[in-house]
């Protein structure tokens, strides 16, 4: 058992995959010699060689297009898009090509690639280094979308993602790379040393896609969250003494509807939390699913706590970020509803 932050967990998983399978190639902007702007590939080129982990042109569409061709040819590319804010030039290749290659060719060609990309704000990244575009991908059939909230899950989910024969979006909440974050920017940064989810076993393990993790059991209300907001919600619940059940979805597509339904049927109340903008966000899908599956168990309308429908502002980052106060206010409102 080793103490790791999320960067180390991801890096060790990538190293294991490179070691295990010659068909795994890692590439992206600055991932080679330098080891990535967040250091997730640090040392991999040195250990596994130039051809296994290399730099690409600044060309997100080119990176994904090349990865699709490689994957169709039998390799298993794991590519990094440096910030998810940069992914839009690759959207055609992801949505029209990677996601549909298996279907349109009836399995003649497939695209088993993993696209790693940092998401979320809280690092003063402004509008171009803070976005959470997961809903643009959960809307596309044929790809899976995964988002870990801690080092332990990052390792288990990344192993599964790379070994999956479908294309997988692997969203990494950059505010959680070095430690859990409760949404309060004025507190000293925490490290993963303080969390049992920072304990990452040396042996390899896989977490199936589509299995949520119940972070905290409770009876009064269900919180559906993922990524950074798991820890913000957890802090809000703790500081307000709310008997909430917090479900970390971990994988958005496929979605663990069983765990969600069981919890909402138990508590009768539900709040959905995400950092992404509100309108047509993944929270809308969750709210719709909860009312479709659990309507007669609900004692109050489902509420969403999200980022506002504005670009991610730089100076006003903490006005934008859906922090503990907004989460707590929503919880209290839903709890008070008749």
């Amino acid at each position: 058992m080793a103490r790791m932050n999320m960067i180390e967990a991801i890096r060790s998983t990538l190293a294991y995959q490179l070691q295990k399978d010659d068909d795994v190639l890692i590439f992206g902007e600055d991932v080679g010699y330098f080891g990535g702007v967040f250091r997730c590939t640090d040392g991999l080129q040195e250990t596994y060689g130039l051809k296994r982990c290399f730099d690409t042109p600044i060309s997100e569409g080119g990176i994904i297009g090349v990865a699709i061709g490689m994957a169709a040819a039998g390799l298993r590319p794991v590519v990094e898009i440096q910030f998810s804010d940069y992914i839009y030039p690759a959207y055609d290749q992801i949505a029209s090509e990677a996601a549909r290659l298996r279907y349109r060719s009836n399995g003649d060609f497939t695209a088993p690639l993993t696209i790693r990309t940092p998401v979320g704000g809280g690092i003063y990244g402004g509008e171009t280094h803070s976005q959470s575009p997961e809903a643009l991908f959960t809307h596309i059939c044929g790809i899976k979308s995964v988002i870990p909230s801690n080092p332990y899950d990052a390792k288990g989910l990344l192993n599964t993602a790379i070994e999956t024969n479908d294309p997988v979006m692997f969203f990494e909440p950059k505010r959680l790379y070095n430690g859990p974050f409760d949404g309060d920017p004025d507190k000293p940064a925490m490290s993963w040393d303080s969390s049992e989810l920072g304990e990452v076993p040396d042996e390899e393990y896989r977490i199936p896609l589509g299995e949520a993790r119940t972070i905290r059991e409770g009876n009064a209300i269900t919180i559906l969250a993922y990524g950074t907001m798991v820890w913000v919600a957890e802090a809000a619940v703790r500081s307000h003494g709310i008997d909430a059940e917090i479900i970390d979805l971990r994988s958005l597509i496929p979605l663990d509807m069983k765990t969600i339904s069981a919890s909402v049927e138990k508590t009768g109340r539900c709040v959905v939390v995400h950092e992404a903008t509100r309108t047509s966000g993944f929270g809308a899908e969750l709210a719709a699913l909860v009312q479709e599956h659990c309507f007669y168990s609900l004692e109050a309308p489902v509420q969403r706590v999200t980022g506002w429908d504005t670009p991610y502002p730089h100076a006003l980052e903490w006005h934008y970020f859906p922090g503990q106060a907004r989460v707590a206010a929503a919880l209290e409102q839903v709890l008070e509803a008749a």
Partner: protein
Amino acid sequence: MTKDESDTNSDLYIPEPLHRPGDTPDFSHIHVRRNDNLEQPDVLVDSYETERHAGGLIRVMDMQGVASGPWLPQVTPDILRKGLRAMLLTRLMDDRMFAMQRQGKLSFYLKSRGEEAVSVAQTLAIRKTDMVFPTYRQQGVLIARDYPMKRMMCQCLSNAGDSSLGRQMPTMYSSREYGFFSISGNLGTQFIQSVGWAMASAYKRRDDLAMAYIGDGSTAEGDFHYALNFASTYRAPVVLNIVNNQWAISSFQGIAGGQSKTFASRGLGYGLASLRVDGNDFLAVYAVTRWAAERARRGGGATVIEHYTYRAEGHSSSDDPSKYRPNEEASAWPYGDPIERLKQHLIVIGEWDDARHNALVDDLSTYVRDTYKEAEALGSIAAGTGIDPKTMFEGVYEHMTPTLDEQARVSGVGTWRE
């Protein structure tokens, strides 16, 4: 108008084609020469040595079918007859399927008339293990590789004989077995994917190439730039073909920036060997493809080839080219018809004659008609496709998901649950 016109030279320029409906096509500005004095360089030549080849036009045959010059390929009459047969078969199938589309048997069709030499000659110049990343106008590749025509027709009819279960529009074939990558209707996307395939081939230390196609119009897509840039950066063993057939639906090639510089010359800026070839000259297309394939296999990296040709029919069954260009433009095209030219060449070298040609056309016509009947017996859009609706929900992912299973159940087609 904020300024008097006399005050400025500034004005917005919008390119316009030479001819519009009602005009008499005039291509007299095109000087049809034997070969622009373009030598055949060593295959590992520095890319800048191909500058004249990117700006000129590589040709082997003159308009009387006489072949000569430095690009004259070593190719047996048997290969040429195979090429002639595949081009004829492509055209006859196109005609048949287009007619059947007009009868409502299929939803859509795309012909490749006038461009058959590009697909067929190139396919015969590479290996069967090389992967082709086609556009929807490369049906000649499958035919030159002896793919079963009935399966192509079943794909177009969207019936139970379509190995892709009617999931794609007609002509969007896929066959890994025949080295034919699944066609995307989104233009240009496959160009960069082919570079990835080629990089994978190189990584695996295999000798197989990738060969990709893009139209003159789609060179304007970012994927074109990505492909040339990555191919150059990683010296990928890929042949990158631009089929300049002059028209992108209704937009002439000038709308893609073709007026000031040849499309082939785009490759030079990326440090790629770049050749421009008479796309209606079977021998020249064969020769440049052999050159590019050998360059790639010997570690010289990618070559950009512009095939200068003419789309002799509408874009598709949904198009009416008489709305935007003169009907006579195709017959006025100064580089003729690729099938007629190869036929003439074979006659000139004493390897073919009209009687054999007519007999071959008769045979192939019968074959196309009979094969079509067999294909249509398996269903059509008009008569019912015979495709099980349950298949609609399969293959989105490797394994069935609970969500899709539930949607299938709600839709009434069934469930995969035990």
